[in-house]
Symmetry: C2
Subunit: 701 residues, 2 copies
């Protein structure tokens, strides 16, 4: 049996032992047994306790050694000191999976950390699918399995939830009970010693009872695995996650909470984008999206039609629609003609369709039946304010009836409270999201539409990057052999050339004669730069001179630069000067760089040079590997993209040349894990070409 | 009696006549009478109906002519054709105020518009405080007055609400009933023919029963009045408004709804900012803020302390806090020492204070009592997740107890649903905002803190602008006398000089000799520009030459510019060339302009020149008149502000010089209503000074 098979045993175990079961109500070891029984667990449940004979009517096994071999699952609630011995004993009995509820491990410091390491070794060796330690347990409603000490048990449903925080499990469970929302699985991952979010995504992808996956994470420890699994599952089911610890204060709280070290928020955002995971920025959004995705079909286009009995709320909803990536569907003439037949003269036949305050349920029903047929309408938002003549229940019935005959999503805004509540409940129970505000509903439809687009997007092209890896390897090995953490520019350019990256025509000159000869060959004007492995900030020592127009100027510059460098940095080895071609006219400066994220690997960065990156922070990020679409996307994401497209009659820059550099840098980053950071700054780009004018490569120590 | 006195009669009438009262249940004329009776109205209520004898037990008056003179209020529900005659008859009986519920006026087109004009004339002549037409009516709970056909009646409370949309009144009323939120007044303003939001703000400012004012507006028609009243009332009570029709689609819906012409959203934003009105961007925020402001004191600082029984939710709340303008209060050592005395060892004593999942109510109470004393703590957010041992009701009691002893605001996040609901209700009933999500609560606290700062801000200085209005008047009159809608640059500079605005040293030269003489006087290098009233886009005809270094260059440029202009624009009168000093070195270009908004008057605009305004849309707005703080604020608001402060060791520009230009332009705009638009572009600014290098003044036709 592999770990993967054993995960299934966690959710659908045929035999379960509760290690530390207790006859005393109020104790966790009692609650777990009671919860299993109350959930209607159909397999064999064995309480284990050296002192008891019977717990909640079940015969007790005295010690682990007496348990049958090949047990599906053990739930561990013994004190922390007894956890490792228990697991050792269970491993001998060939247990397939375990839930360790007991706390006192990694989260409490060094000693706990060592204990947790021992658990990881044990579980890895014996392929035990272990959830926890330090968790609330897990629930699988379709298997009548409640291996937790949670205070409630949700209805059967199609939403799965896993969480790094037990408290969030508790909160969402209580919310589910309050709102009658059904769940398939609830997993409190605790310290994630063995089973983590990657395993959960992999398992839930093929779980027939789960159609929507929710997750709360504070950090991800196996980034590559997470990305692989997340990218696969989002092709089949939506995954909605809250990632906390996004800000400094949040991250601080995260560290002191479960010892989680929050990765950089940009990397997480890039990871979610890369994999199509939907990020919920707050709890309300998580709940709203869970309900929307689990009940309504995806809208297959941006056109939203609003049907309302009142103008003001219609305007508010239209405002929110225009601020989203949806649009107000333009109704066809035939739709409008059909509505004219039954709508009163003061009704507005255009979107928002205003049925006027006296609209009975029948008017709603007829209108919905007409607009739902319009090919420009991809989703519908029904608005109702509780006017004196509003038929709150009957209108809900009409909406439910229409929704059964269509594959377009319908959302309802009953704007009110007291009088609207029964209608709202009726709609929600029928699987039609109903809220008292229009804005969150529109946000949900927008998110669903974006997810629809994600599912439709064909797999992107990963262009092959021609390269001479061996040549680059030699350069980097040489730098490392000297203990350098920075590759000097002239050698870094070797690396770029090995990857066929466009570099300015450059020569290394050890004397002024050589400098003039190089300049003659390159063509005037040229740039001279100091070449020294110790001097990386060249301008600081006056080590750069531009626009040198003739041999005379080159000769003077050579003397000037080298003399100055020697004077200011007497310890530095001066190899001479680099002679470089000048930037072509009308160039724009861009910056392309990457930083290796601990969790997710190379995180590429793109922005316009100078103040755009430094002051305006107009930067976009993507995780490696970059495909053609990623490269296009990172460029278009920055606000100053318009400047690259050209303003006031300028020609656009050569975008493909930029994309190629981005894609190549991504490959370079993947080829050489010892490069921790690299930056091409500036890359000079005009309508014809892009050239990497300066480069900095930083190696791990 | 003035209109203002008569508004009081609307809310606290001693005698009320219902014109069009009906004995038939279901009719609006019946509902109004029934609503008055159910509200426990204590004055004299007179149904008026030519055919009935008794309605709901009240004796009926047959015709308006038989009503007593000097009636406080009439409620009009007769058919539209009978409204004007009824109002004429009521005016003769010296009625003081009226609510016209009947629709069919401005909102239905030309004929209705004419009827509404007649109503306005009548009410103005007789100083009748008229609400409507086309409205739901009004409610004043503290006066037992329900002059509406609304389907519910709220509890007495301190929130007032006025709305341009009757549907929103209906919705908010139903919400209030559902949530047990009390209101002081509900006013459906309808077409706002007489009583508008300005009157409401003025009246509610001194209404002792109102502590928070909510409003829904689609447009404002009397901008100056609105600003005057809003600025006054926000010094005493918070005003929270939803302005709809913010986007194109929204605005379109607004026009087709009540004939409202939505003003530009920038102008509204500027008007709210100028007056301290809090803008709610969605309904949820409106409701949240209404509850927060009406129940809790203002936080007197940014320090928020989070007290929680669970880590995950604590992190989410800390994230949201860091994204706001609040901060996580740094607890003092003595606070931490005091908490150590009773908190368990695994509790986190730092903010968020984590009491751990088993926290009983007593632990919450003790902790709250300690942190509330910390001077760094200005507001508190209590978090609770329904763990197995959570004491949901007892904790609510503890929070209520502590809140009674403090003047610091307390908000509560009971994260859950089913089990937490009774605690949530208990807290809400006790006036402590309690939500199942932390984020909206933090947003409320932030908004309250910003309002606190607004109340603390001393009145700003309005520097006196030295000017020669007469001189400017002559220039503008001359342009207008020639039917021009554009003031030519040389004359526009006259206007600037009349307002002591810094202009480049300039001379008008009619010949090349005069050009050289002028250049000699100004000092080289100079700029030459074509001077022709018909040529406003000078560069298009090659009419600008810069950096002219000597007399020879000036002479050649003069011939070249004038010849080219004559050839390309043979019909244009060529006055000669302007000779101007060159911009000083190291200047930055900024744009300062204004546009006259229909509702709110001159709307000033500020941004950096070129792409910052055109491509990045990095622009800020303020309404005239501009004080010193406004001028400072508009400059700091743009994202590229850092560029003016100076990057990479640059000196900051002379900010006061920019402020002075802004303040002066605002005065110029107020002095000359015939200027519809003006732009100083570019204004050149460096560390020493700012110069208006080019100017464009557009006059109304």
């Amino acid at each position: 049996m592999s770990l993967k098979d054993n995960i299934h045993a966690l959710f659908a175990p045929k035999t379960v032992a509760v290690i530390g079961a207790s006859a005393a109500p109020g104790k966790v070891g009692h609650t777990v047994v009671a919860n299993m029984l109350e959930a209607g667990y159909k397999g064999t449940l064995i309480p284990v306790n050296p002192k008891a004979d019977e717990i909640l009517g079940l015969p007790v096994t005295k010690k682990i050694e007496d348990l049958p071999e090949g047990l599906d699952m053990a739930v561990i609630v013994v004190p922390v000191a007894a956890v490792v011995p228990s697991m050792e004993a269970l491993a001998k009995r060939k247990v397939r999976s375990a839930v360790i509820i007991t706390a006192g491990f990694k989260e409490v410091g060094k000693e706990g950390y060592a204990l947790e390491q021992r658990l990881i070794e044990l579980c890895t060796e014996h392929e035990i699918a272990m959830v926890g330690p330090n968790c609330l347990g897990l629930i699988s409603t379709h298997d009548n399995n409640n291996a937790s000490f949670a205070a409630g048990y949700p209805e059967k449903g199609s939403i799965a939830f896993f969480s790094q925080s037990g408290a969030l499990c508790t909160a969402i469970l209580d919310w589910a009970l309050g709102e009658n929302v059904g769940f398939s699985k609830f997993v409190s991952l605790g310290n994630k010693a063995v089973i983590n979010e990657g395993n959960m995504l992999e398992y839930l992808r093929t779980d027939p009872n789960t159609s929507v996956i929710l997750g709360y994470i504070e950090n991800v420890e196996h980034g590559a695995d997470f990305i692989e699994q997340a990218a696969k599952v989002t092709q089949e089911k939506p995954v909605i996650m809250i990632k906390s610890g996004t800000t400094t204060a949040g991250a601080k709280a995260a560290s002191s909470h479960t010892g989680a070290i929050a990765g950089s928020d940009q990397a997480y955002t890039a990871a979610f984008r890369k994999t199509g995971v939907i990020r919920a920025n707050d709890m309300a959004t998580l709940f709203d999206l869970a309900q929307a995705f689990s009940t309504q079909p995806l809208p297959e286009g941006p056109g939203l039609c609003i049907v309302t009995n009142s103008g003001g709320p219609g305007i508010l909803a239209a405002d929110a629609t225009e601020k989203s990536s949806l649009n107000m569907a333009r109704l066809s003439n035939s739709t409008i003609e059909r509505m004219k037949e039954f709508l009163p003269p003061y009704a507005s036949l255009y979107n928002p369709v205003d049925l006027i305050g006296d609209a009975p349920a029948e008017r709603y029903r007829k209108t919905l039946e007409v607009v739902i047929d319009d090919p420009q309408v991809h989703s519908i938002l029904v608005l109702l304010t509780p006017t004196a003549s509003a038929e709150i229940i009957e209108t809900a019935e009409a909406i439910i009836e229409v929704s059964k005959k269509t594959k377009k999503p319908i959302f309802v805004n009953y704007m009110g409270g007291q009088r609207t509540r029964p209608g709202q409940k009726m709609l929600t129970d029928a699987g039609i999201p109903c809220s008292i505000y229009p804005e969150p509903l529109i946000k949900s439809i927008e998110t669903m539409y974006n997810y629809y687009l994600w599912r439709q997007t064909p797999a992107q092209e990963y262009p092959e990057v021609r390269r001479n890896r061996q040549k680059a390897r030699l350069v980097i090995n040489e730098a490392r052999s000297k203990g350098a953490t920075e590759v000097v520019e002239f050698q870094a350019q070797e690396v770029l050339r090995a990857y066929n990256l466009p570099t300015p025509n450059t020569g290394l000159a050890r004397s002024s004669d050589e400098a003039v000869a190089a300049a003659d060959k390159i063509g005037y004007p040229v740039v001279l730069k100091i070449a020294s492995p110790q001097i990386s900030h060249k301008s600081d020592v006056g080590g750069v001179k531009v626009n040198l127009a003739d041999a005379e100027a080159v000769r003077n510059a050579f003397f000037d630069i080298t003399a100055r460098a020697q004077r200011m940095r007497p310890e530095a080895y001066i190899a001479g000067c680099l002679v470089q071609e000048m930037a072509p006219k009308g160039c724009k400066e861009i910056i392309i760089g990457f930083k290796r994220d601990d969790q997710f690997g190379p995180l590429l960065m793109f922005g316009l040079g100078g103040i755009y990156v430094e002051i305006l922070k107009d930067i976009a990020f993507r995780l490696a590997p970059l495909g053609r679409d990623d490269a296009k996307g990172i460029i278009r994401e920055i606000k100053s993209y318009m400047l690259l497209k050209g303003v006031r009659g300028e020609q656009p820059v050569n975008f493909q040349a930029i994309e190629d550099i981005l894609i190549t840098m991504s490959e370079l980053a993947l080829d050489f894990p010892e490069i921790v950071e690299a930056e091409f700054n500036p890359v000079l780009v005009n309508a014809e070409k892009a050239v990497v004018a300066d480069v900095r490569i930083t190696l791990s120590a």
